[in-house]
């Protein structure tokens, strides 16, 4: 009786037009989630009998499940870490590393803030590093008000936090200051920054785009050219918005990839990634990257590009790193 009661198909279910069956299990970053959701939704309109499920356990939580073989695809807002790579190796899991979009990590201030227009990397370090953390804005740059710095940041478990930390801290092993107001919900950060004078916060560019009436973005001085650059689709794609433009990935278990429904799904994902990325508020990667990603799958080239054979981190723009010669398996 329960089946009759609860198992009913939604009245909006579409007519089936393909016999493809099976399951695709996705878990991981909530930043990548909107893209994966769009892919799952579009794919299931073509293949209604394939069951795609998408979770939001976070990049780290997703890899934990992926590296033991629980999921077919892992969403990640940062490249795989050496510890996660080792875990995958131990359980004999090989994967394709496929970049799907760019995200511009955006530093924001209140709309009414008149003086905070740009920051250099050095100044960002003065604000965020645990040891040298400046208490007042006047300590960061001369002429800025003698007011306390209030910071709103994503939760420490998120890939966004990890990425920001990596850029700011680098390989020094220092940590970020602990007196920031953190939240897993980026909308809380939006409210926090827009309601607090002399505050600064950071999150993905999608949240800034939706709240341009309340927030302004802080331009970042490109360490190479010395120009202050604001996050726009153009500057994020060209890489001039450095170093805060980051690629988002999906990792695909190569064993799962042999299954027809997973192959089909990944094919759909890569073909539609540019469109899905921009409608989710992100920036599409150059077409050459998607082509490269297709080739990795077609030629069965597994492994990560973001670790050296000694499992050291590789950093740089995705166009330089995503080369077949950089593959480490």
């Amino acid at each position: 009786m329960m089946v009759l009661l609860f198992g009913g198909v939604s009245p909006l279910a579409e007519a089936q037009n393909s016999g493809l069956l099976g399951n695709v299990a996705i878990d991981g970053s909530s930043t990548v989630y909107p893209i994966s959701e769009a892919a799952a939704s579009g794919f299931q309109k073509q293949y209604p009998q394939v069951k795609v499920s998408v979770g939001i356990s976070g990049t780290g939580g997703g890899f934990k499940r992926f590296t033991v073989g629980d999921t077919d695809i892992s969403d990640a807002s940062r490249p795989i870490k050496d510890s996660e790579f080792k875990a995958a190796r131990e359980s004999g899991i090989n994967f394709f590393e496929l970049p799907v979009a760019y995200d511009g990590l955006t530093l924001v201030a209140r709309k009414s803030n008149t003086w905070l227009n740009e920051l250099t990397i050095e100044e960002i370090k003065t604000i965020f590093l645990a040891g040298s953390a400046a208490k007042k804005w006047s300590d960061v740059r001369k002429g800025w008000p003698d007011e306390e710095i209030r910071i709103f940041a994503p939760g420490t478990d998120s890939g966004t936090f990890d990425y920001f930390k990596e850029v700011v801290v680098g390989k020094t092993g220092a940590s970020l200051r602990s007196d920031m107001s953190t939240s897993e919900d980026d909308n809380v950060l939006v409210t926090g920054v827009s309601g607090t004078p002399n505050s600064v916060g950071f999150f993905g560019v999608a949240y800034y785009d939706e709240n341009k009436d309340k927030l302004k973005s802080v331009a970042i001085v490109n360490p190479k050219t010395g120009d202050a650059v604001s996050p726009t689709p153009e500057t994020i794609e060209s890489g001039t918005y450095a170093p805060f433009s980051r690629p988002l990935f999906i990792y695909v278990n190569s064993e799962s990839f042999k299954r027809p429904e997973v192959r089909k799904f990944i094919g759909y994902y890569l073909q539609n990634a540019p469109k899905m990325a921009s409608s989710a508020g992100y920036v599409a990667l150059p077409a050459s990257i998607y082509k490269e990603a297709m080739m990795r799958c077609r030629k069965d080239k597994t492994g990560t590009h973001y670790l050296t054979p000694e499992l050291e981190k590789r950093t740089g723009p995705v166009t330089e790193i995503y080369q077949e010669s950089n593959l480490v398996n």
Binding site: G7, S10, E37, P260
Partner: protein
């Protein structure tokens, strides 16, 4: 009986200030003043006493109406923002990326499955435990100690944050202390029943990663039954018979297996559509019956329901105990005196008169279960799924999780439909409660 009526009968109100001065104040004042003559200034104290009473009543009214006002405000703001977002699509649609097409049908079904399962498991268990603790007094010291230990545990468990239960549920129900093989891993669960396995091949034309040159052949997928989940992988051969899952159900098809890079590709679209890459590995898929069972449970409806059971069990037990305690001892004594066995007393006397109280506890507990997000996020972790659960081990999501996901999104439109989702959640909650209240009402009438 309303609160106001009882105030009318209260002795304090019945007394006039004059009457109280004569008796009560004098008596109180005497020991202090050590037999001094009547002091008129004490009248002030008496007036204080009365004003204190009035103040207290006013304070009660203020706090009571404040809580009602807050509730009205909450409901009002919720309805204002939620009602415009309500639509048929929201109720019956799938979680699409476009907010105007998004709905929470799978989450709604998930919530109904999980909460119904949870109620079916928890109510008998909780009420049973409460009856043991209240109605059957232990006869020896050991049993007494065991029961008081259980009692202590239950009272403590009521205060544990629900995330902790999520983690317990992950160990105890999802992986079952790793006593069995991982249910989600490629090797599959240790024990299962109600599943049939197939190897699914795609034809050459449908592989997005193969260049076959022939775009005319349509996509087709072929199923070859295998004995079990762990059976060896089927190697495709020309002439093999396979099932095809078509519009008119399953049909049998003869397949061809070639190497698309070396063998000649047929120009005939029909033959081409039945051709499989002979090096391709099939995907092992399963058809599961509604009674599908596996050990360990893995992530799914049952694991979620059992975890919610942990969250609400203490609430049910404690409220049932209170309800049983409220049954007059004379009723039990009377029944026992007439020669009823303890079982007959519990079943025919105590339990029926305690049902109203038990139902109140059940309402509170189920309200908590239906709104619980944290443990389900750990157990299910899924927010996008396009189907309602089909069996007890099926993946599912629940409404609070779907709403949480929408609120987290950057777009305002998602926040609006999230408000609509909350209204639907509230409506379901009220329906659950209405059923419980109905049962309570029936039982109360019966008792009279």
């Amino acid at each position: 009986m309303s609160g106001n009526d009882s105030h009318g009968d209260s002795p304090l109100q019945g007394q006039s200030p004059d009457a109280s001065t004569t008796e009560a104040v004098k008596q109180q004042a005497e020991p202090v003043t050590n037999g001094a003559p009547f002091d008129a200034s004490k009248l002030v104290t008496s007036r204080n006493r009365i004003t204190k009473d009035i103040r207290f009543r006013q304070m009660c009214i203020v706090t009571a109406s404040a809580s009602v006002l807050i509730l009205v405000f909450l409901l009002g703001s919720l309805l204002v923002s939620g009602l415009p977002a309500l639509s048929w699509t929201l109720l019956t649609g799938y979680p699409e990326p476009e907010p105007e097409n998004a709905g929470l049908w799978p989450a709604l079904m998930g919530t109904l499955w999980v909460c119904t399962m949870c109620a079916l498991i928890t109510l008998p268990l909780g009420i049973g435990t409460a009856i043991l603790l209240e109605e059957f007094t232990p006869r020896n010291k050991l049993a007494r100690n065991v029961l008081s230990l259980i009692q202590l545990n239950i009272t403590n468990l009521a205060g544990v944050p629900s995330v902790v239960y999520g983690i317990i549920g992950l160990t105890a129900f999802v992986s079952m202390f790793s006593l069995f093989d991982d249910a989600d891993s490629t090797d599959g669960p240790s024990m299962e029943m109600g599943a049939v396995y197939f190897d699914q091949f795609s034809n050459v034309a449908s592989d997005p990663f193969l260049n076959t040159g022939d775009a005319d052949a349509r996509e087709r997928y072929f199923l070859i039954p295998v004995d079990s989940r762990g059976a060896p992988v089927t190697v495709p051969k020309t002439g093999m018979l396979a099932y095809e899952n078509g519009e008119a159900g399953f049909a049998t098809v003869e397949i061809l297996a070639i190497d698309p890079f070396t063998d000649e590709v047929s120009a005939d679209a029909d033959i081409m559509s039945r051709t499989i890459d002979n090096t391709s590995t099939p995907g092992r898929i399963s058809e599961k019956q509604w009674y599908y069972l596996r050990l360990p449970f893995g992530r799914g409806v049952v694991a979620g329901a059992l975890t919610l059971m942990l969250v609400i069990l203490p609430v049910i037990i404690i409220s049932t105990q209170e309800a049983l305690r409220a049954v007059p001892a004379t009723l039990r004594a009377g029944a026992l005196g007439l020669g009823a066995t303890p079982w007959q007393v519990v079943w025919n006397v105590t339990l029926p008169s305690a049902i109203p109280g038990i139902m109140t506890g059940a309402i509170l507990a189920m309200s908590r279960a239906i709104g619980e997000t944290a443990p389900i996020l750990i157990i299910a972790g899924i927010v996008y799924i396009r189907s309602a659960p089909q069996h007890l081990m099926d993946d599912c999501t629940v409404m609070p999780l779907q709403i949480y996901n929408w609120i987290q999104r950057p777009q305002d439109e998602f926040h609006e439909i999230a408000a609509g989702g909350i209204v639907i959640l509230l409506a379901i909650l009220l329906t659950f409660n209405a059923v419980a209240i109905l049962i309570r009402h029936r039982m109360q009438n019966k008792l009279r």
